[in-house]
């Protein structure tokens, strides 16, 4: 059997045997990325809806900036946030560097523009006429917004998946902000880099398989919600 097959077998062996370190790493990956995605939804959905519905000078520039932000290189985000969080840096007093919170902060910066941009696109594709009709029927602005977001929920679930997918898979920011510390900030991607560096290829393949597996499970659950009504 080839190296890859061994790695896949190892992945299932580690998960089933309840290897506590692998479970802890997997759990932390989920926590950090889910936390960052959740925060980015809190910020990105209102911001995206606002950008989609309002007209103001400089809006085109703001939209371009958000769209550029959707492709922020994680390693650049990692570097900038690290410098902010350094003991010598402006936010050094928080003593957040090399903690899971720092990783959440970095991943939030990566995911927020993705969620904002996709929410913007989702809300904008709801026809204008529909919005005007609601207002004409006497809906308040808040009611109108709620209905719009409901109408746009399917593409917005795509925003959740894209945001989560973007952060669970990134390694640059997590490595710099977390420091890949055993038992504290080691996540699946940074552990994969480390084990590859150590020459433990079967273990790094196993970690990759686990990463793919949980990414699949999360997306499968979200897709299930998204597609349920269509069935």
């Amino acid at each position: 059997m080839g190296l890859f097959g061994q790695g896949v077998l190892e992945a299932f062996r580690l998960l089933l045997a309840g290897d506590s370190e692998v479970w802890q790493i997997t759990w932390l990956s989920l926590q950090v990325s889910a936390g960052a995605t959740a925060l980015s939804l809190l910020v990105g959905i209102p911001l995206g809806a606002l950008l989609a519905l309002s007209r103001f000078p400089g809006r085109a520039l703001a939209v371009s900036l958000v769209n550029t932000g959707m492709g922020l290189p994680p390693v650049v985000v990692g570097l900038f946030v690290t410098i902010l969080l350094w003991r010598n840096g402006p936010l050094g007093f928080l003593e957040l560097l090399y903690t899971p919170s720092a990783m959440v902060a970095g991943q939030f910066v990566i995911a927020a523009p993705i969620v904002t941009g996709l929410t913007l696109a989702a809300v904008q594709q709801v026809p204008d006429a529909f919005r005007l009709q609601m207002l004409g029927l006497g809906a308040s602005r808040a009611q109108m917004l709620w209905v719009l977001l409901k109408e746009a929920r399917l593409p917005m679930l795509a925003a959740v998946m894209a945001g989560f997918g973007g952060v669970i898979s990134e390694v640059g920011a997590s490595m710099m902000l977390g420091g890949n510390i055993r038992g504290s900030t080691r996540v699946l991607t940074t552990a994969t880099v480390l084990e590859t560096g150590k020459g433990n290829f079967d273990l790094s393949i196993a970690l990759s398989v686990i990463l793919l597996l949980i990414t699949f499970l999360v997306n499968w659950a979200l897709s299930f919600i998204q597609q349920r009504r269509r069935a």
Binding site: L28, L30, Q31, V32, A34, G35, T37, A38, L39, L41, L42, W86, R87, N88, G92, E95, L97, Y98, P100, S101, V104, W146, L149, K150, R153, M156, L157, V160, G179, N180, I181, R182, S184, L194, T196, G197, K198, G199, F201, I225
Partner: protein, 279 residues
């Protein structure tokens, strides 16, 4: 939409608080900046829990190239540094950024290369001569190119040989030792590597050892404390505790036997109390 809100709430309420973990008083955290080889070899995975158990302190190991490990320490972003580039270390000590440099252990570097040995360096007693022959024959050589301790030594050897490594034969990987060995293996090239990483990669790398046991190839690890003046929040007490721990007899005993079970030979030789000149 409601479902989305529930998901959100769950993620925030359920996940975030559990992540902060047990509260650790800030002065109880020691940040150790160190080279990748101490982590890749697995040595710190053994030593750090020992230290934490003995002292009740929590260690954060930042494992990067020696150049970065020292640069971080000089900015006060670490409390203690374990590195392996004596020349560079002495420069930081002279500048007052680091203090109390003490030798911890050594192992050695080796020159590996393709079995057909196009530069004919096999068995040369001096690494310098080997480097000269590699450059003269323009045989492929893979360099770390990352300011690590290994890279620093490699550059020093080229300089002593009076060679400026340049050209198609000189490949800079910009990566860790493991990846660099992989590239050397793939391109059938020469490389300078520490013995510990080479042993760890024996399954994947079939390049033989061609030059070894020359004095300049000694790979000496030292521990240094960070000057608290480098920045705010340097934990000088914690840094000193870790440095002292690395030199304690029971730690040195663990270093002495580390790797025997896995590789059939020890990866490091402990040398607490010795000076550079003694080796």
């Amino acid at each position: 939409m409601a479902r989305l809100a529930v998901l959100l709430w769950l993620a925030l309420a359920g996940l975030l608080p559990s992540m902060t973990g047990p509260a650790v008083a800030k002065s109880n955290i020691v940040i150790v900046s160190t080279t990748t080889s101490t982590q890749d070899s697995g040595l710190l995975d053994v030593l750090v829990p020992m230290f934490e158990k003995q002292t009740g302190l929590t260690v954060k190991t930042i494992s990067v190239g020696t150049g970065q490990a020292l640069a971080l320490a000089a900015r006060g972003e670490a409390d203690v540094t374990l590195a392996h580039a004596p020349g560079l270390e002495k420069k930081y000590v002279d500048e007052g950024k680091m203090s109390n440099r003490r030798l911890v252990m050594y192992n050695d570097f080796i020159v590996i290369g393709p079995p057909d040995d196009p530069a004919r360096i096999k068995g040369l007693p001096r690494a310098l001569d080997a480097f000269k022959r590699i450059a003269e024959s323009q045989s492929r050589f893979v360099s770390r190119g990352d300011k690590s301790g290994t890279h620093t030594l490699e550059l020093a050897l080229w300089k002593q040989a009076g060679i400026e490594p340049k050209g198609a034969w000189y490949i800079e990987s910009g990566q860790g030792m493991g990846q660099t060995l992989g590239i050397a293996n793939d391109r059938r090239a020469y490389a300078l590597t520490d013995r510990a990483t080479f042993l760890a990669f024996q399954k994947r790398v079939d390049l033989p050892i061609l030059v070894e046991k020359d004095r300049p190839l000694l790979n000496i690890y030292s521990v240094m404390e960070v000057n608290p003046a480098n920045g705010p929040r340097v934990n000088a007490r914690g840094g000193k505790a870790f440095a002292d721990f690395m030199l304690a007899p029971e730690t040195q005993a663990v270093i002495k036997s580390f790797g025997v079970d896995k590789y059939g030979q020890a990866l490091f030789v402990p040398v607490a109390g010795k000076k550079d000149e003694d080796l």
